[in-house]
Symmetry: C2
Subunit: 366 residues, 2 copies
């Protein structure tokens, strides 16, 4: 059951178990999964799984697709997710560009649009532009909601923006509610790094329970996935990785501090010393691995992509050195998969998270 402070009743129980089954169906992908295997993995009885999958088939969310080889008795029937049963829209509002994607239940990209955007414009104009892109992608399909990713800071719970860097007029704007009213759909808002991390968490192959996505572009930030769920912190402020001090009394940073990783990394990049930048990044990654005991480090962002191998090797070297000293486990460092729509696709996953039961860690109210 998902962590929460609220009581659960029978409908909640039913949703929980259905979401669990859907998550396994999604993870099984094209290979499918049998009822008995679902029963084994969920801990439910086979009969319960039969009932749940029957409901899902009635809804059109799941379907039977062939059968496995017999092992001496009746062969198992293979069940699969029907990805086209529902869709989600993801919007990435960047400083100068708006990317909108439509994904199906499996997270597969169905459609994408990219248009120029001026975040400096009136919020109402931006809302209108975003809504127009979302509607253009819908096309009569069953759309569960819209996920929006933006540069922070913002508050996920209330859906309100804070002092977006360089765009003070956004301060306090209730973007989520404004867009939800305009579109008549559920809207979810999160930071771009969080959306990217969520997208990575749900990519086939990245089944790590917890990892950090480090994004080095014009700035340096992180998205944290802990125990399979996005860690946002109480105010959606988590992931402030770039202004971690790693060199006391070091060079001044734009934030007013000294010796921040971001300043050190970007200065190294500016003078062309990518290996040094990678080592700085690695120090922060090693600190993070020790503090949180995560399974994996994923690197992304324009600056990383430009010299991917150097960054991956440099960060891995520092992390491994620390593991050898016994201060941290051996943690793989890999480049983050994902094309030009990675953030928008992650934003779409904000909508799909509750469907598949991978609820976010809930925070008790003060």
């Amino acid at each position: 059951m998902n962590r929460s402070n609220t009581g659960a009743n029978l409908p909640a129980l039913r949703n929980h178990n259905a979401a669990l089954v859907l998550d396994l169906l999604r993870a099984a992908g094209e290979a499918g999964i049998s009822r008995l295997e679902l029963a084994e993995r969920t801990g439910l009885t086979p009969q319960a799984v039969s009932k749940i999958t029957a409901r899902l088939r009635d809804e059109g969310t799941a379907t039977e697709a062939g059968r496995r080889a017999s092992t001496g008795g009746k062969p198992r029937t293979v069940l699969k997710l029907v990805p086209s049963a529902a869709h989600a829209i993801g919007l990435h509002l960047d400083r100068d560009e708006l990317t909108a994607v439509l994904v199906d239940l499996a997270g597969t990209l169905v459609g994408a649009r990219t248009v120029p955007l001026d975040l400096g414009a009136e919020p109402s104009c931006v809302v209108e532009a975003a809504a127009a892109e979302a509607e253009a992608l819908t096309g009569g399909r069953r759309v569960l909601g819209v996920g929006v990713a933006m540069p922070g800071p913002l508050d996920h719970d209330s859906g309100v923006l804070h002092r977006v860097t360089g765009f003070p007029h956004w301060n306090g704007f209730p973007l989520r509610d404004a867009l939800a009213e305009r579109l008549g759909r559920k809207v979810f808002l999160d930071k771009d790094t969080n959306a990217a991390a969520l997208g990575l968490a749900l990519r086939a192959g990245t089944r790590a329970g917890s990892f950090a996505y480090l994004h080095l572009g014009t700035g340096l930030g992180a998205g944290l996935v802990l125990g399979g769920a996005l860690h946002r912190g109480a105010r959606t402020g988590a992931g402030e990785f770039g202004h971690q001090t790693i060199l006391l009394g070091g060079p001044a940073c734009g934030c007013g501090g000294r010796g921040c990783i971001e300043a050190l990394c970007l200065a190294s990049v500016a003078r062309g010393d990518i290996a040094a930048a990678a080592r700085f990044l690695g120090v922060g990654a090693a600190n993070l691995v020790g503090l949180l005991d995560i399974d994996e480090i994923l690197l992304g962002g324009r600056t990383v992509t430009a010299d991917q191998d150097t960054f991956v090797r440099g960060v891995a070297a520092v992390v491994e050195e620390r593991a050898r000293r016994g201060g941290a486990p051996e943690v793989p460092v890999r480049p983050a998969a994902g094309g030009p729509h990675a953030v928008a696709e992650g934003a779409a996953q904000l909508v799909l998270v509750p469907v598949f039961g991978r609820a976010n860690v809930a925070y008790p109210q003060a």
Copy 2:
């Protein structure tokens, strides 16, 4: 519902809701709480709460205790937890000392024993000594289980010790199972810093959803409580705070690295410059606040206790300075409450956590 990957059935539902109600009863303490208030807080219907509390009263876990003033109708009946309905034992196995405590359901200390201990002795002898202390405290009471806190590293999930610093013969010893078999009781194992953090999380007054407990004694470590639950990481390795690099190329640390907070802090303490030690600790705390967006920093450990005000002020100054730069929220820094048995009491809470539904964040299997 608690986050998990397993299916839920009616008994699980019932336990979840009962635990939720018990948690609210515990939080209400001597003041008590009415049925309607419980209904409001849990989201359950008043009738469901009536049924649940009736079961708890039958069990002897809750009781009616007076009534509130009327607001124009029938006055509300106040319900309270019956702390003596069950107990938990907490063991703190330190390098040279074994502390055992008995606490009731409310977490109140009922009994305590402290004896010398040699962690260098045979594991079987230590198990025997620990079991004897636990049994001496039981005294015919209903004891739900035994929580054990030790210096790490160790694995909470399997209950197996790793290379305990300075005591290599413990490597791989299945302490949890050995003690469970010897005592015939459920046993839970965790790091001392985690137990301390858990104890703080459940102390009245510390209702922060997430905080970091920084422990500065002979070493420097941290216990992290995120979203009301202990964050252990996949291998119970989280909280390695002391060997975070904050001064690249700085003085050598015992771990083999350079510029670790622990080395810097302890060196400052050694030469009597407590204010400098506090500032170093503050840099790490500020890094952590930014990364995890927590609500509070709690400081403890012998070294901190010796100069509490200096440490609290010094750390708070650095954290506040960072908040002013906009890089992190304003986070209070406070001394950790708790007497000589704080760790053992936290260990006992390991047993009580599932009773009150504040389950730990579950990690998906690989």
